[in-house]
Symmetry: C2
Subunit: 381 residues, 2 copies
């Protein structure tokens, strides 16, 4: 049979055709007025996504590069920070701190669970010398979303800053930087921003900039003071991903047209539709604090979780994501992130039903799809 590739993962996510087409246009030079105009318009659009009046800096790197830029620009050797670790990306904050000699106190959180702001308040009181709290908006490895609004409130009462990795979350779940008082917010291009991997974005408020001024960790490519100086001249310190910037401007036009409220509501509807389908199949959600970015689902008893993901991907070419080590096989992740429509949710749930049937799991074909359809039909605008 002729098969098609369906990218249903929490990053990279599908890219709109009008955005893909921009990659076929000739490369323009980055030290020109033409590119500066595009770059500044894109930067303005990104401030809308961040919901901030602060500058937003464009880095040509993956989201991990932006995480590193946060650490190396904010801290000095031996600085103490609190890191909320509820999955692979919380762990990554800890790894970056370790690589640069920052003293990361890890706060373990059960995978998929919330972490109450009151607990963070206690942790900050126990560590009055902590320079920052590092966490995710959405922990991509589980789909859990943290209470960033609550975190910002308790961190805001201290001298510490709140550094939020919004790589999979920003643009899919609310995180208005200025309104909530997030001090540093960063994201990547290949999630809700609807372009290929290769760009990352980061913003610092005034409180964070004070730490940047005092920071003594080594940095060069990710030097934010250089980035700030160059942004004032409508450019970047180093050669930016020209095509990606042009594509990002195009994708931001879609976001602006839909409005941030509309985009967030879209993700909410898709999440509801997928969860209705999963529950109708009789499966259980893995995360107890799921966001609207992705839905992690427990592998049902008697089914090999790795075979499930492999069948979805290889037989049906429905590229959902498995769980990561050390929880591989225990659950799987269905994304509803970025340029996905209601019908991708139907593809996902129908492929899941057919896969479960292939693997001998008792499933009433169409029951999950019907529940997904019901949510979509009622909410489709």
């Amino acid at each position: 049979m002729l098969k098609k590739y369906y990218l249903l993962s929490p990053g990279p996510t599908p890219v709109p055709e009008t955005v893909l087409a921009k990659a076929a246009l000739p490369i323009i030079h980055h030290r020109t007025e033409e590119f500066s105009n595009i770059f500044m318009e894109m930067t303005e659009g990104m401030k809308y996504v961040f919901q901030t009046k602060n500058d937003v800096y464009t880095l040509t790197c993956s989201g991990t590069g932006a995480m590193e830029s946060a650490v190396t620009n904010l801290f000095s050797p031996g600085d103490k920070v609190l890191v909320i670790v509820g999955g692979k990306f919380g762990e990554r904050w800890g790894q970056i701190c370790k690589a640069y000699g920052v003293n990361a106190i890890e706060i373990p959180v059960e995978w998929g669970c919330a972490y109450p702001a009151e607990e963070l308040e206690k942790a900050l009181k126990a560590n009055p010398d902590a320079k920052a709290v590092l966490c995710q908006l959405s922990e991509t490895s589980t789909g859990a979303v943290y209470d960033i609004e609550g975190f910002a409130k308790v961190v805001g009462k201290t001298d510490a800053i709140l550094v939020v990795d919004g790589i999979s979350g920003l643009g899919a779940t609310p995180c208005p930087m200025d309104q909530w008082g997030v001090n540093v917010l960063l994201t990547g291009s290949q999630k809700s921003l609807m372009i290929p991997p290769g760009l990352a974005f980061i913003s610092f408020d005034d409180k964070a900039w004070k730490l940047v001024e005092a920071s003594k960790l080594p940095k060069f490519y990710f030097d934010m003071k250089k980035a700030r100086k160059n942004l004032a001249k409508k450019t970047t310190p180093w050669t930016p991903g020209v095509t990606l910037v042009i594509q990002q401007l195009e994708a931001l036009k879609i976001i602006k047209e839909q409005t941030m409220e509309g985009i967030l509501e879209h993700h909410r509807i898709l999440a509801d539709a997928v969860r209705a389908g999963v529950k109708a199949i009789g499966l259980e959600l893995f995360a107890t604090a799921p966001g609207n970015i992705l839905t992690s689902v427990k592998t049902p008893k008697g089914v090999d979780g790795n075979a499930l993901v492999k069948t979805m991907q290889k037989k049906y070419m429905a590229y959902i994501a498995g769980a990561q080590e050390p929880r591989k096989g225990e659950f799987f992740r269905l994304a509803h992130l970025g340029y996905m429509s209601g019908f991708e949710m139907i593809i996902m749930i129908s492929a899941l039903e057919m896969t479960l049937k292939d693997l001998g799991y008792p499933v009433t074909m169409g029951a999950g799809v019907a529940a997904t359809q019901k949510v979509l039909q009622e909410e489709w605008k």
Copy 2:
């Protein structure tokens, strides 16, 4: 909500991404060895689709242009031909004949129905001076497929030739030109051939070439003797659609990889899956002789057929086709043609269920999808 465009019509059909990408490459000149090599390789591939050892000529025009080329190259003023008219495209044969002063005897066939070869045999006996029988492989306006193998047998016993419009049918339902003894076969690029509209292909056997040699109708752009002379020199008389030829070569690689048997079986599975879905919803097929190209479905009682198509297209962006005049609203057409995967059938049936619900028609959400899934899950390879 973010919506995506789903092209589910019997032409144009979706184009594979690897084929679309070829349109972004620079245009090469057509009077070069480089292009001649591409053109001849594409022509060889097309002979595989036609299942013929005859030459296949590439015309830069739509399928209708190829139909006109058949008429103007085969006949002379006042020639009598039999035309099987079971829908809009049968009518088109008659219109072209009329425009050129060919005496077309129209054989009316109820829309959506078969026409028995025995009836054609009788018609040929009643019209021993008929030069040709003109018909469709698949009547795109209804989805009915004719018994071309049977037609070829009865026409083969006479001096007449069989001219088959395979525009929507070739590559989706069997029509091996040489094996069946079809004298003239033609098709368009925007159906099972999986490229954008703009090219058409036509092939004549020796019996047909004798008529071409004797033809006195006026022609210039579509002059097949010029085309034959140029093909011998590995080129075309006029500037060909260079990009479309390059795209066609790319698409033919997919067909060759799948094999003709595989491609035909793929269309059979999709057709079965769609019909299972339609029947499970409780709807009736319109055509009594449906092929594997498209499924025409009667608009159920109490539903406005035009509103149904409009809701599918505008609300769900599922671009199925309505019926054409004078049967508009009476039925609608679900395509399973070209670069469509099993999941497009699921999108189509789920959108149809949601649309019927929107229009107040009693539908058990998911019942049609389940039936479609069942066929797909059992047959998916």
